[in-house]
Structures are given as structure tokens and as C-alpha cells.
Amino acid sequence: MDYFQLEYGLFADAPDLVQNVPALGKLKEKCPEYIKRAEEIQKLARKFARDEILPKSLEIDLKCSKDPEYIDWELWRKANREKLTIAFIPEKMGGLGCSSIGALALLEELTCACMGSGANILFNNFGILGAMVENKTGIIMNIMSEMVEAQRQEKPLFWSWAITEPSAGTDVEDGRAMATMKPSAYAEKVKGGYRINGTKCFITNGSIAHYVVATICLDRSNPLETMATFLVPTSSKGFSVGRVERKCGQKSSQTAELIFEDVFVPEENLWEPSGSGLRHTREMLSTTRGFVGSAAMGMARGALERCIQYVYQKKIGKHRLIDEDWVQIAIADIIKDIKTVRAACVNFAVAVDTYHATRLFESLPVKLAFKLLPGKLFLSKSLLALTKSPLVNEGGSKMKKKIVSNEVIEQFVKEGSAIKVAGTDLAMNVASRVLDIVGLEGMSFRYGMEKSFRDAKITQIYEGTNQANRLDLFHGEVGEKI
């Protein structure tokens, strides 16, 4: 199919951030730098998505069908050169300096082209997110510098979250559920650290990760009170990767089983002590859920764009499929749904920048530091050593806890849950509706729309099933009051 017939979506000139969500115009007026930076990122992302990801998305899906462990390293390297793999790291430190609104734009453009490839490129940024959730400044700085160094050397450095277990999916994401959870993994206190045994499953990037952030309990009969978070380098003795799953879609994103056999984790890699593991997970989810919903919205947009291109050039008799009334109304319906969800996603992203972790970058000490200190200094060994000092660690931790309080976390879990359900339901039903418009022939592999359908379903399941998300939403909004 010749995509260049219609200048729409990925094939339109970016940036169109403010065109798509005109309310951002006021924000652009008042905080020009904030929106301009996001627009720059949208432009970069769209170009990459259109020119690099889109042409390869089908080929990669096919190759991964034959071999779930296939990776297009050339694509990854290209993304890495554009710093997309370290997008969230501040510019001064060597990253792209993506705020949440910039991250939204980035996510939307990439997942519009291909969700799996988008995930492979961007998921790593969650490593930084995980680090930011982590309270200690020293750890955050060191992780960021390690990632920047790896990016410069074009060396892959992948992160992974090991939360799900064979017997616990939803149970690991919710307090009430965790109280009754039957764990498949556990840690024991030993001299100098901990020893981990057990299995985690369905872990994104698990098979290629260098670092795994794992939530594991210390007492299987009391998981909620003893849940802890550990940083486990995959080079650790006793760690191994089991199966890499064959999935319905998002095939390019690897989903693996992780096996821990007497894996020793030193004390310093205990990120959250016993009892705080759930809080760590909840804090991560308070931003990631909203972004997963946004990524799914990007997927829906991708299905729609392919649909429009197809019906534009598909002939029936003397006219085109796009000329039919029923098609125009069906497409309009999809556009309406995407517009409304996108507005909610933008709201979420700007809210994160206003009230959540990224506010740290707006705080006086951080702003001053970024303004006054030279970039080189940020990654110097001396500064990194300084950040590990108790003073800086504790100071940073206090500052962050003030901003990202428990109230903020729970509020964003609630808001994020709503976005996640809306965005993922959107991805699924738009993909299905698009196929209804284009029919059997449009469902051929080469048009990419059946791939959108296959890629969409899992988004309603991971990051908390949409049913669990709804429970969070109810409890967050009304539950407490009853």
C-alpha cells in the first residue's frame, strides 16, 4: 500500500501537538519553553516512527513469529543514536529531557507506528522512572549516568520489572489482593544481603535485561507486610531466563520467565525494605498506568491512520471506499473516540508534570543546579560520589517525598487507572472497528491493521487487568467515602 497518498497523522508535518489539543495553546502562551520542547520531541519522534519503525514493523512481526527472541538491533541502534532510549534523562545530563507531555508525544508517535518496537525503544526509560521512585539521589544519579554512558557507546542497557508471578498477576498490584496472595518467589535475609528463590513470569524485556527490579516478599505467609523491592543484575549467579513466550501480538517485545535459584542480592541493592515493596509498585503504577493508556491510544491512532490510507485508495466500482457514507461515519466515530481519550491523556501528562515526580525538576535546587553547573560535571565521578553521601541522599529523599506524597501517589493511581482503561479499551475496539470497515481484504497481513488488532488485546490485561483498574478507580474516587 502506498502510504504517501494522504498527508495525515504520521505523514503530516509535525509538530501538531497544539493543533490536536488546542487547549495546550494557552499553556504555550504562559510556559512557552515547556510546550516548545514537547513539540520538538514530537517532531523527532514522528520522523523516526514514520521513516524507521513503520517500514519495518511488518517484517519484524513476521520474524518474531518464527523466533520470539528476534531483535532488530539496527532499528534499536538508530533509536539509540537519537537518544530515544534515554529520552527521560535531563538534557544537561545527556538525555532528551522529556517532560511528561513530551513523553506522551513521543509515546504516541512511536506506538502509532508499532507498539512492540515502541516498547523496545522506550521501556528502558522506565528504568529511570523506577530510579526516580527510588528515594536515594545517589542511586538515581548513578543509574542515569550509567545509561547515558551506555547510550554514548551504543551499548544496549535494558531494564525490566519483575512483578508478575505464575500465581499472582493482579495480586501483586493491589494491597487488598496482596494480603491474600500466594507467592511464587521469596527472599531470605542472609549475611550481607538476601537470597532469592522462585519464578517471575510474563516479564517484558526479561530475556534481554541487564537489570531486573523485582518485588519479592520475605515471608510467603505474609506477603503484604514483607514485600520488598530488589535490584538484581542479570549477571547474578543463579539468575536465569526460562521461556520466552509466543504471544498473539506485540511480538517484537519479549516476554519472559525469570528464574531465581539462590540468587544473592547485597544489602545496597535492597531498594525498598520489607513492607515497602507494594508502595514502590504503586508509585511506579501511578505514572506508568496513565502512560500505558496513552500508548494504547497511540495504537488506536495507528489503526485509524492505516484504515484511512486503505479506504482512500480502495476502489469499489467507480468510486472509493472512503466515499461511502457508512465508512465516513464509522471513521468519524473513531476519530471522536481518539480525540476524547487523547485529551484525557494530555490532561494526565500535564498533571504529572504539575503534581508528580517530574515536579522535582522544577524545584529550586534542581533548577539552579541544572542552570549553573556545566553538563560535564553531572556525570563526573566526583559528583556521583557526592550524591551517594548521606546528606545528599537524605536531602533528595526528603524533597522527593514532600512532592510525591502518598496522597499524590494514590490520586495518580486512580487517574492513571481511568486513562489506562479508556486508552486500552479504545485500542481494542478501534482495531476491531477498523477491520469491520476494511473487510476481509483489508485484513490481509500486508496492510498492518490485523496486527493492530493482535497487538491491542494485551493492553487490557497487563499493567493491572482493566477489571482491577476499575476497582482502583472506584476505591480512589468513591470507595474511601463509603
Binding site: 498473539c248 457508512w326 488485546k457 490485561i461
Partner: protein
Amino acid sequence: MSAVEEATVEYNEIIDVCRKFAGNEIRDKVQEADLESDTAWLKSIWTKSREIGLPGLIIPEEFNGVGQSELCCALALNVLASECAGFASVLTYHFAGCIALNNGKPSQKERFLAQLADIDISEPAIATVLFPSEMDENHLHIKESNGKLLLNGTSPLTGNAEHANLLCIFLEEDEEGEEITCLFLDKKTPGVSIGENAMLPGLKVNPFAPIVFQDAVIEDESIIGERGKGGNILGKTKNAFFGFIAAMATGAAGSAYEKAHAYAEERYQFGKIIINHQEIQRMLGNMLTKLNAGTAVFMQAFSDKSLNLSYLSQEASLAKAFCSDAALEIVIDAVQIHGGYGYMHEYGVEKIMRDCKVLQLIGGSSPLIHKNKIANEQKNK
């Protein structure tokens, strides 16, 4: 006994034989075959199915068939689709071809039908049917040259494109679609070739492709009925065909429902076996409602009246639309109930989801079918 079971008691034995066949021969390798798009496996299952008379189910006994009714075929397809919709779809297109052929002269039935029921020939004979579609860009048409009739054009995507050796072709010979011609051609006829495999996400063991005709010679014996007067045959074939798809979709969805129900009775999460969570109960109840409704709708499509409606009425397509829509909703919920496991190939549910989405689009998607029903009604007033 349910109303459906009462209406079908005479077919119980056949349905039982099909169910056992599916369990014994299909179940073991079906996931692997789906992964590999294994058409060789499909062929081997087809060959085995001759032992229970499946390919000849609708072929009259005088031509070595079992001589059963369309309803019986639908019930068989319903049960087979619960193990593999891909295999059932091959039978569906094949049965449709047989139904069309049944309207031919004795010499034509002798020539074409008998081989379809033959259980002794080494290479099994499989039929398929090509229906005209408004989405066609290169309509099939007949050119007359040097006293010969030559078939030209490209068919829409059709099932059994790879497996079939006998093609049943319906052509619209006029702009209004009122002059229908029915032909039978051997796929090996010079000028006939298979187009590119569409690589649909479901029914993987039955590759769909367009069939291309370039000056393929049509003998007199190849025309069933009279040129331009095949509307009656098209009606009978299409009515049954759509009913078969409805039956398959319902069968596949029923299997997804059962898997989800069984999983929900085993899985523990959020403090309970999940079938004790009200939301899971609500979902399963909703799925069962659709399953029951779908069953009633496809059964009704096989009443004598329904089967003999004019091809212009398009009633049968409404049944297909309803049943396949319902089936897709059921299986999407079934995947959801399985959680992460539902998305993994090994568990077999996501396959059913892909199969049902394809079934939903065969013969037109539901919005198109709904629109066309009323549009054509107005056109024919």
C-alpha cells in the same frame, strides 16, 4: 433436553462421531498447526475425515455421499469448529461447492460431485466457492472469442484457495447483479492461478487468496443451469454458506466460553477462586447469553424457508453478522478472563479470537451487511 437438542435429535449420532473425531484427531496438534500455518497437517486431517464420511456429508447417496441435510452439516461444523475453526472452514467452503453442484445435470453431478465424496482416491478432492463481491476491483467476466467462452478477472479473497482443486464460481453478468452464472472449473485448467496468500491472522491452516483467471476456457459442461439464470443456485448456496459460518463462529466461541469457565474455576486471585468474583460471573453470564442467542439464530437459518430465500433477500447474511459479532465478543471476554495466559499461544484462546475475527469478515463485515440488506431491499422495490 433443550429446544435445540430436541430439534436435532436425529443428528445426535453424527454430531457425536464428529465430536469424537475432532477430539481424537484434531485436538493434539491444532496449536502447533496454527503456529506453523500447517497446510500439510490440514490435508492429513481431511484425508482421515473421509473415514467418517465428512467430505461427502451433503453429497447425495447415489454419488457415494452421506446425503445429509444442510442443518446436519451446520451441526457438524459447529462441533468441529470448537476444536479448530480453520479445519471447519475448509469443510464449509467445500460443502458450499457441493450444494451448488447439486443443482447440476446428472452428467455434471457424475463428473464433479462423485470425486468430492470419493474416499479411495489418494489426493482428496476439495471444492471451494467464489462469490461476487461489491469490493471486487476486477470482476470475473466471460469473454467470447473464436466461439469459445473465456473466463477473466480476479476473484475476491476466498477460503480453500490453496486446498481446493474444484472451483465453483458465481458471476454477475450484468451491472444490476441480476444475471447470475454458475460455473465449475478444475483449478488445474490453464489460465487459472492462485494469487498471493493474504496471510490472515486466523484460520491459519486454510490460506485465503484471490484466484486469478486469464482466458480460462469454459466448456458447456462447466456451466451449471443456464447462463444468466443461476440466481436460484446462488441463493441456495449463499444461504447455507452464511449459516455455516454462523454455526462455526458459535461453535468456536462455545469452546472459548468453556475454556474460560474452566479456567475461572481453577484460578485463585484477589482472595477467591475467580469464578466467585461477581464481575467474572457477570462476564460469563453475558457470554453464555450470547452463546445461546447465537445458537438459536444459526439454527433458524436452516429452516426450509430460510434456506430457499432468494439470493436478493440477504437474510442469511444477517444471521452470520449476528452470530459472528456475538462470537467475537464472547472470545474477547474469554481471553480477558484468562488474564496474561489468555494472550499466550499455548493456551489456545487467542487463536480462537483470531479465528473469530476472520469469520466475522467473510462475506462482508457486519456494518456492511446491515447496510446492504436495506439498501438492496430498496433497490429491488
